[in-house]
Amino acid sequence: MPVGYSIYVERPSLIHQRIDPRTKLAALGAVFVLALAFNHPAVLGGILVLVLLAAQLAQLSWRSLLPAMVGSLWFLVLSLLIWPFYVKGGPSLFILFGSTISVNGVLFGLAMGLRVALMVLAAGVWMMTTSPQKLTVGLLRLGLPYKAGVAMTAAIRFVPLLNAERITITEAQQARALDLKRENPFNRAVKSIAIIGPLFVRSIDVAQSLALALEARGFAARDGRTSIVQIGMTTTDRIILIALAAACLLAIGLRILGIGLITRAYL
């Protein structure tokens, strides 16, 4: 049953192919630091534009970014509705439910919404541009134990397998006239055993078979392993890393000085 393993999309872009997964991980971290360092919507908006530019550079379609953007928009609206009641300061705009709504409150609400959008989008772009294989190799180089790395891959494999099993089992029981939606809550609980039971048995079977297959293919037969996936830091990577470090330091400095903030009262 075709179920995607990850949201990674292969593209022949510089970001996909040339940049080391470790650098991309660092970039994601840096975006998070920047997002937390500032709370002025203009600054956060600026960084968001940079992330969207990176997505363009990575040849990602706007459509693939849509789910992340729609999700973020929700947060933006929510945060615009809530924060103005808490954050005051700056010229007042109007009075709502006996509370004065001020410019700073609106701006802060906007900033918090943008902050979430920034993190969600950055994480999305990161996952879409970093293949799980390369990430695993990158993490191994960073000191992740090798068995944990393979366990990660096997787990990624296990989830869709089980999902396919779940779908088949549900279909098979529907064909035996099981209709959970039509049952009262008590019967629904009792009858869902018809799906959970086989799923449980099958997941043990699948786990056992996968474990045997791993062993038959020499998993853990040696200490350590080689990899056909080549990753390595290039000059580009180093320049990016230095730039990221500088940006983070700068952001922390500005935060201490109070620049790029609506208020110091909140993060």
């Binding site: 279909e171 098979a172 006239a177 099981l178 039971g197 086989p198 048995v201 079977d205």
Partner: protein, 284 residues
């Protein structure tokens, strides 16, 4: 034995007309303009290459999949209306792997699940369970643990638990994979007996030798199209056509066709037939 089904209105058991199907809007079309009519009481084999669309088509019969275009009716009912659970009264569907449906501890409880879901009166349900167990030959296992049965018996249990719902139409998807010859023959014999009671059977399989022995009508699906449909002996002797669906005639048919110049009939289907022909040709 299950009571024979009353065949008053001769609606076709399955009536597929000009059906197109794709799994997702952006995905490729998997069934292209498929039409198929199966009358009540027929026994039909659905054969064809891996990925040809057999399972996809069969899942339309009980409403698990709904056509993107065209209409599917089972016993006269458009499958777009009722839910799968409601259609289960009319169409039974047996999955390939019995472990995808066995959950109860006792064999009897497992078989009773379907009748129970159909909200049959308890006596009626108990009677059907007994009949189904009898029919598949699991009567003496009624109080055993379902999971302790071997693969062949679990397969029969899966069939019994669908038979107990007494559907007039039965679809069986690859019931013989992973079974030995004896197990496979048992299952096909069982389906034959059920069919003799006037019920409609559609079996999906790669085992053409068994089809030749026991199933009267054969439908070949390839690349999402029905490329042949007719009497099994006609369909299975057309090597070129089968080749298109990555199939081959049974071995006896292939051998018979190579011995045609000695007067051996080219539509030989079974071991017994070829043996009889050769006996004739080699005898005085």
């Amino acid at each position: 034995m299950a009571e024979p089904v009353q065949l008053q209105r001769m609606e076709p058991a399955i009536d597929v007309s000009e059906v197109r199907f794709r799994y997702s809007a952006s995905g490729p079309e998997v069934l292209h303009d498929v039409s198929l009519r199966v009358e009540q009481g027929e026994y039909v084999a659905l054969i064809g290459q891996n990925g040809g669309g057999k399972t996809t088509l069969a899942k339309h019969f009980n409403g698990l999949l709904k056509p993107v275009a065209g209409v599917v009716r089972t016993m006269g009912v458009d499958t777009r209306g009722p839910s799968v659970a409601e259609l289960a009264r009319t169409v039974g569907y047996v999955y390939q792997n019995p472990d995808h449906q066995i959950f109860a501890q006792k064999v009897r409880t497992e078989v009773a699940f379907g009748p129970h879901n159909l909200k049959l009166p308890p006596e009626e349900a108990a009677r059907r369970v007994d009949e189904a167990l009898e029919l598949v030959g699991l009567r003496e296992y009624a109080d055993e643990f379902a999971f302790s049965l071997g693969r062949g018996l679990r397969q029969k249990l899966a069939v019994a638990s669908v038979l107990a719902m007494s559907p007039p139409v039965l679809v069986v998807d690859e019931p013989t994979t992973g079974l030995d010859l004896q197990g496979s023959r048992n299952i096909l014999d069982l389906l034959g007996r059920w069919n003799a009671d006037g019920r409609t059977i559609i079996v999906i399989t790669h085992d053409l030798a068994l089809v030749a022995e026991r199933v009267p009508r054969t439908v070949v699906i390839s690349g999402g199209r029905i490329i042949a449909d007719g009497a099994t002996s006609t369909v299975l002797s057309e090597a070129d056509l089968l080749g298109k669906a990555f199939l081959r005639p049974p071995q006896v048919t292939r051998v018979a066709q190579r011995l045609q110049k000695f007067g051996i009939a080219s539509d030989v289907m079974t071991v017994a037939q070829l043996r009889a022909q050769l006996r004739l040709a080699l005898g005085e």
